[in-house]
């Protein structure tokens, strides 16, 4: 269960991690120009680990997850880089090879369980279908398995509920059924793309608990994509903070929450509502807009919104793209920022942390 050091720099040899993403780029040619949704992303996930990917809308979180599953194949997306899953490279793999991995070795849970399930088929049949693609079993055996899974994810009266349609389920039950569908083939990698966003808070907590329990049980690797830092703090071991299609900071949960060094991460923490502190006048949103992925800002992607550019000499922030470099304090913690590390730590301790 220990987090492996994140080997995030380019050119370094692949780690022995279960899933290793190396310099992933997903670009979409459009009429307006090339959209660089993901631009040079690297991270590792091990069995038994939960990696959180956080970032605002359009930061490339979902595009990354769909690239891992190979769902961009057949579209116009241009994908480069490497994705290694248990020794198999996925970016160059054929659609047929990807198809046999999808749902079997790696599975995905989507954001909105109502629109993610087919409205015309029974919930049970949809789970059965997922099982029978990868397992040559009889309908009866698949049905038994599906009912077992529905029971496991906490759906009461699963034999009866098997024959219900998605619209007859509540929101939380639908997400449980989606999880059952994703886990029916015992995937070793589970990608959860904002699994709790469409649910109310009490159900959110139940779903997260369920995912953690199941992860312990199956010892799978989980990538949890979210924009909810609360969810990350509760659930994840490691975190990748994405901004403008790039990783701007990565580290263990403690590092990201207690010693963040990137101004964007500070902004995220500042805009998070907290019940465990004195109530502030109001939340502090990050000023400005997310960057255009067609005309990515020159230099640091975050520079148009960064309040700390005066800490860097010679306007480096707008001229030179910073590398993702280890902070030096921990092997797992890396930051993409031009500000001097000592200065960053001082700003965090003196200016940011007291204001949270």
């Amino acid at each position: 269960m220990t987090a492996q050091p994140l080997n995030v720099q380019l050119g370094q040899p692949k780690t022995d991690a279960f899933l290793s993403v190396r310099d992933l780029r997903v670009h979409f040619p459009t009429g307006d120009g090339l959209v660089k949704s993901v631009d040079g992303l690297s991270f590792d996930v091990d069995r038994g680990e939960i990696l959180g990917i956080v970032g605002e809308s359009g930061s490339g979180k979902s595009v990354t997850s769909q690239a891992i599953l190979g769902l961009h194949k057949g579209s116009r997306a241009r994908i480069t880089g490497e994705i290694w899953l248990d020794g198999t490279e996925l970016v160059g793999a054929s659609e047929d090879d990807m198809r046999s991995l999808r749902g079997d070795k790696m599975a995905m849970i989507f954001q909105d369980p109502l629109s993610s399930m087919h409205p015309f088929y029974r919930v049970g049949d949809q789970i059965t279908e997922a099982y029978r693609v990868h397992n040559d079993v009889s309908k009866a055996a698949a049905k038994k398995r599906a009912i077992e899974m529905l029971d496991r994810v906490g759906i009461p009266n699963p034999e009866k509920r098997f024959s219900d349609y998605p619209h007859q389920f509540s929101g939380g039950m639908r997400q449980r059924a989606m999880i059952a569908m994703a886990l029916v083939c015992d995937p070793k990698l589970l990608i959860a793309d904002e699994p709790t966003t469409a649910l109310d808070v009490t159900v959110q907590a139940q779903i997260l608990d369920l995912m953690k329990d199941l992860q312990k049980e199956f010892n799978s690797a989980i990538i949890l994509i979210t924009h909810d830092l609360g969810v990350v703090a509760e659930t994840c071991d490691n975190v990748v903070v994405m901004y403008g299609g790039q990783c701007v900071e990565t580290g263990s949960v403690d590092e990201i929450f207690y010693q963040p060094e990137m101004p964007y991460a500070w902004g995220l923490l500042g805009s998070m509502p907290r019940l465990d502190r004195q109530r502030q006048e109001r939340l502090q949103p990050i000023a400005g807009q997310p960057p255009s992925l067609i005309r990515v800002p020159k230099g640091c992607v975050f520079n148009p919104r960064c309040r700390f550019q005066d800490k860097v000499a010679e306007g480096l922030c707008v001229t030179e793209h910073p590398d993702l470099l280890p902070t030096g304090t921990s092997p797992t913690h890396s930051v993409r920022c031009h500000i001097n590390p000592d200065e960053r730590r001082r700003i965090w301790a003196d200016e940011i942390k007291p204001g949270l």
């Binding site: 999808r102 989507f110 409205p119 349609y165 619209h167």
Partner: protein
Amino acid sequence: MIRYIIRRILAGILVLLAASFLTFFIFQLGPKFAHVSPALYYVGKIPPDQATLKLIEHRYGFDLPVWKQYLNWLHGIAFGRTLTDGTNVVHCSAPCLGYSFRQNLPVTHLIMQALPVEISLAVGAAFLWLVGGVLVGSISALKRGSLFDRGAMTMALAAVSLPIFFTGPILLLIFKYKLKWLPNTNFATLTSDPAQWFRSLILPWCALAFIYAALYARLTRANMLETMSEDYIRTARAKGLARRRVVIRHGLRAAITPIVTIFGLDIGQLIGNAVITETVFNLHGLGLISVQAINSQDLPVNLGVTIVATFAVVAANLLVDIAYGVVDPRVSYS
């Protein structure tokens, strides 16, 4: 479900009664405005003397109030009628939709003769356009922007713009007169001579289906494009399903659901409305006999065809609503 169907059937009967009464009433207005006896329409070109006209009026009940005539007509549908002026007796057995004095035949008989033609034409064309339209539309959507897509959509635009009185004669010209593949296109019933039935209908089917297939192809394409970008399609792919299964079982299944509605209504409306096709190909279906009836002011036939066409639309609506509950589990009848 059963209660819903019963309620809908009762409502349908009401619609039929209203439509028939309105039609019946409107057909009284013509002679009234022209200040002539309705009997005049039934006797041929040379008008008889007043006494004979009176007899005819009495025989067919034109001397009664409209509502009474209507009730008699309804009574005839249920129990048959005997029309008599004392010397001539005409019997019209149930269901009697009226009696054509022009052709000296019960309307029911005329309609029963036309109905096999009408249904053969409608069902055959409907099959062609449904299969053709959905197939072309689906492929177009899946290969969006391809040469096939652009070609098919251009064809579809041309097809909806070309009327049957243009395409029909061209088909006849090529296949009947030039290539002589179909020298004899006289209608035969399916039961009496299946081969001739097919030969007589293949050209009208194609002409009629061409227009509808174009509409259905465009509709299917639009639906399919929308469906294929739905979240549940992504889920189906994420499960590792083969593309064929994703497209057919998950995509097409959802995309054709609204087409079921339109298909039912189109067939319903086609009964009695395929006038141009029937005229071009000389098929004695309901459309053609109603046009002939209009030209010869044969009002009972018109009334009968109107009722049958109304019945077809009402029945098609009911069937569509029931079918919708079967294809879309979210629809409930309560």
